[in-house]
């Protein structure tokens, strides 16, 4: 799978081009309209609480520090790599997510789900979304990248925010696996506690979503 990310501006023509090309390859950057939409909705004054389902990233922490945010790192890629959690996920997904998701002192304003939904089956997505809806305040936002390509990396990637509309994506492995290729209607059905406020299909085969937690998430389907 190829991810035609935005070109590095330094790769353009210029007298130093040969040195730029000779340098170590840089991780791909790509434009993220959903991130931009998320940042535009962050409050200027009030501190907000963020749940990051990905691995800890110094860049992301620094980025959100300017919004006086409190950040909770859940590192689901690490948790899901453990055999104990994977086994529990197969038998009782709800219990698994309750174990690995943190409980903050107050509901979260933002969830950064990144690409984690690509690595769960449909029932697990539904149960994770239910738990996240429980942990979020009404109108809380959730950012998710869902692949529409045929294949995805074998494991969730690392995402670092470069600026308010650019994300650096670092795959952890070159091995590939089939993508669930969730259609938008199916995503909306699975993530029932949230409504889609922003959805855009990117050229690299990822549909970016910005969800908003419904005021009434409705009955929880078990």
């Amino acid at each position: 799978m190829h991810w035609p990310f935005r070109r590095n501006p330094a790769e353009g023509s210029g007298p130093r081009r040969e040195f730029t090309q000779a340098a170590e390859p840089q991780p791909p950057l790509y434009r993220s309209p959903a991130l931009k939409a998320l940042v535009a909705r962050l409050p200027d004054e009030a501190a907000c609480s963020i749940l990051d389902l990905g691995a800890a990233s110094g860049a992301n922490i620094e980025f959100f520090s300017r919004f006086r945010c409190r950040i909770q790192i859940a590192d689901l890629p690490d948790a899901l790599a453990g055999e104990e959690v994977r086994s529990l996920l197969r038998t009782d997904a709800e219990a698994a997510f309750r174990r690995i998701l943190p409980v903050d002192r107050e509901p979260f304003d933002v969830v950064l789900a990144w690409d984690i939904f690509n690595y769960l089956d449909r029932d697990q997505i539904r149960r994770l979304a239910t738990e996240l809806a429980r942990l979020c305040r009404p109108s809380g936002l959730m950012l998710a990248f869902i692949s529409t390509a045929k294949e995805i990396p074998e494991a969730p990637g690392d995402f670092q925010i470069a600026d308010e509309q650019t994300v650096l994506w670092r795959p952890r492995t070159t091995a590939q696996r089939p993508s669930p290729r969730l259609a938008p209607a199916e995503v909306e059905r699975l993530v029932a506690g949230f409504g889609v406020v922003h959805s855009v299909l990117m050229r690299h085969g990822v549909r970016e979503y910005l969800f908003e937690r419904r005021h009434d998430p409705g009955p929880v389907r078990r």
């Binding site: 990233s57 110094g58 620094e62 409190r70 790192i73 409980v103 002192r105």
Partner: protein, 154 residues
Amino acid sequence: MASDRPGDRAIIGPSITIKGDVTGEEDLVIQGRVEGKVDLAQHNVTVGANGRIKANIIGRSVIVEGEVEGDLLAEEQISVRKSGKVRGNVTAPRVTIEDGAMFKGSIDMERKAPARPPAGPAAHAAAPTPSAPVTPGAPLGQRPGEVKQGGRTP
């Protein structure tokens, strides 16, 4: 106040295990194991690459190169280096986590210092951390002390 002389710091060597509270009036480098609490509110605490800590740590600044299971509280800065692993909640005006570091817990960078964390190590990385405002510039803790248990290697 931090130590005035360069190199004026205590070292808990890699063969040392401390079960109990560690307090003091100088910077500290921990290369051994500590279970309990590390309280050097006015000094720098470094958990070296060999350090294995199951304790809450309070310092002026805290650097983690080893493993910590517990809450970290610093008046100035907390830094988790790429070799570091932290499972707990961290509170400091500035927090840096290098790429490659493992971290699970909460990060609070509001410009106010919370109340001291509980005496024991974090039972759960996601345990809530209470906050309370303090006067800017005031030390997080005033209690003088010393290394109560364990050995020190100069």
